[in-house]
Symmetry: C2
Subunit: 264 residues, 2 copies
Amino acid sequence: MIGVFDSGFGGLTVLRALLAQMPGASFVYAGDTARLPYGSKSRATIARYAADSARFLVDQGAEFLVIACNTASALALDEIRDAVSVPVLGVVEPGAAEAAAHSETHECIVLATSATVESHAYANACSQLGVRAFEKACPLLVPLVEESWTDHPVTRQVAKIYLEEAMAGAERDGLHPDAIVLGCTHYPLLRSLFAELIPPAMRIVDSAESVASRVAANFPATATPPAALQCTFFATDSVDKFRVLGERFLGRPIPSVQLVDLGG
Amino acid sequence: MIGVFDSGFGGLTVLRALLAQMPGASFVYAGDTARLPYGSKSRATIARYAADSARFLVDQGAEFLVIACNTASALALDEIRDAVSVPVLGVVEPGAAEAAAHSETHECIVLATSATVESHAYANACSQLGVRAFEKACPLLVPLVEESWTDHPVTRQVAKIYLEEAMAGAERDGLHPDAIVLGCTHYPLLRSLFAELIPPAMRIVDSAESVASRVAANFPATATPPAALQCTFFATDSVDKFRVLGERFLGRPIPSVQLVDLGG
């Protein structure tokens, strides 16, 4: 059983990618919705919250943990690994590795939350793979996705502003990026919008897909995958909201969600 | 000493109004920044968080509590009153009272967070004063203010969309509103933008000013108010961020902020 953790709904895009690549596996998902968003919080607070959730998932039987939250992966991966005894994989390193594999200029742009950008986790992960990254914080994109304005003129305008600022910043740093990393699990819902706004030669790297490929490589494929969704869902706040909003991220119905109190 | 509580920075617009009306009073402010935003959380979670903060402010010596958070005022005022033995005033009822005092049609629009709108706290408070309210959730306005886009074309477009939807909704309900209540403590930073977008005959009611007037009426004016800011600030997360962002809401420098752990 694979445990998937996020501060909220965004990690469901990672679960979606995992289900597509590992249809036979069982999953347990925990969304710490009572304490979201992590993106605006300090490292110490994020580490404490994420470790609580990681321990909970292991208590539920998870034998492998995917930290499907860019902010927690960027800021608290070591603390999460210290808190549990099962393997833990974050989204940052697989995203950076895919950018490295596909960028010919070895230069990329990373779009993420403020906390992820301030941590420079992507720039550091890219640097270790010989790739220079320009990181751009896009704090309005998460609320726009959660408002369901994924195909809305305002979102297009905001995305255009952020992309232009990122391109200009990269140019100032002397970079010629040919890949753009979606370093937040909400951003896959804006993928087609980004695809229209970026230069045709630029490649989109979705960290959700990158981490799913990495996890799938660790497990043998099941011969006859079950048709039904093999996932138990937990949320720390309103389970109704989780189900309604979560189905948009997961791209399929969520049969039931259980409320869990992780403290706080 | 007056205690002022908010989930974050927004309540500083209430403190700003209090300082303007009560320059001689002493204040203690608690911003539960580690657990913000409350606007997207459930009633039970908000009540638990708000009661923690209320008890903390009383422990600090507060003899009167102002719940400068619309969401907590709307959803958890009874629980906060149960948690402490000092008088507690929320922002909702004073805002509704000011709308009632100034509306000639006795019909108004309330702009607020999703949680405040879903609670119908403003509609209920208005109803008790003979005013019919159309409540409109505006979830993007808080992140836009926190992005510092208070005077930005995107924010104007978003505010215009929300206002048009509110006007259309009020009309469908047969209302002719002549007052618009800013039912979130972030919205005073958008007051001039709203003023440009609404019909000239429509009056803006700022709950922050309404509650400050109500508190000031409870206390005698000081003959010689001190020149310096008489307020101690506490935050549950990054004190640096609180100071930098908070100064925009307070409209004056914040000398120092103390970190406090309220659990969670």
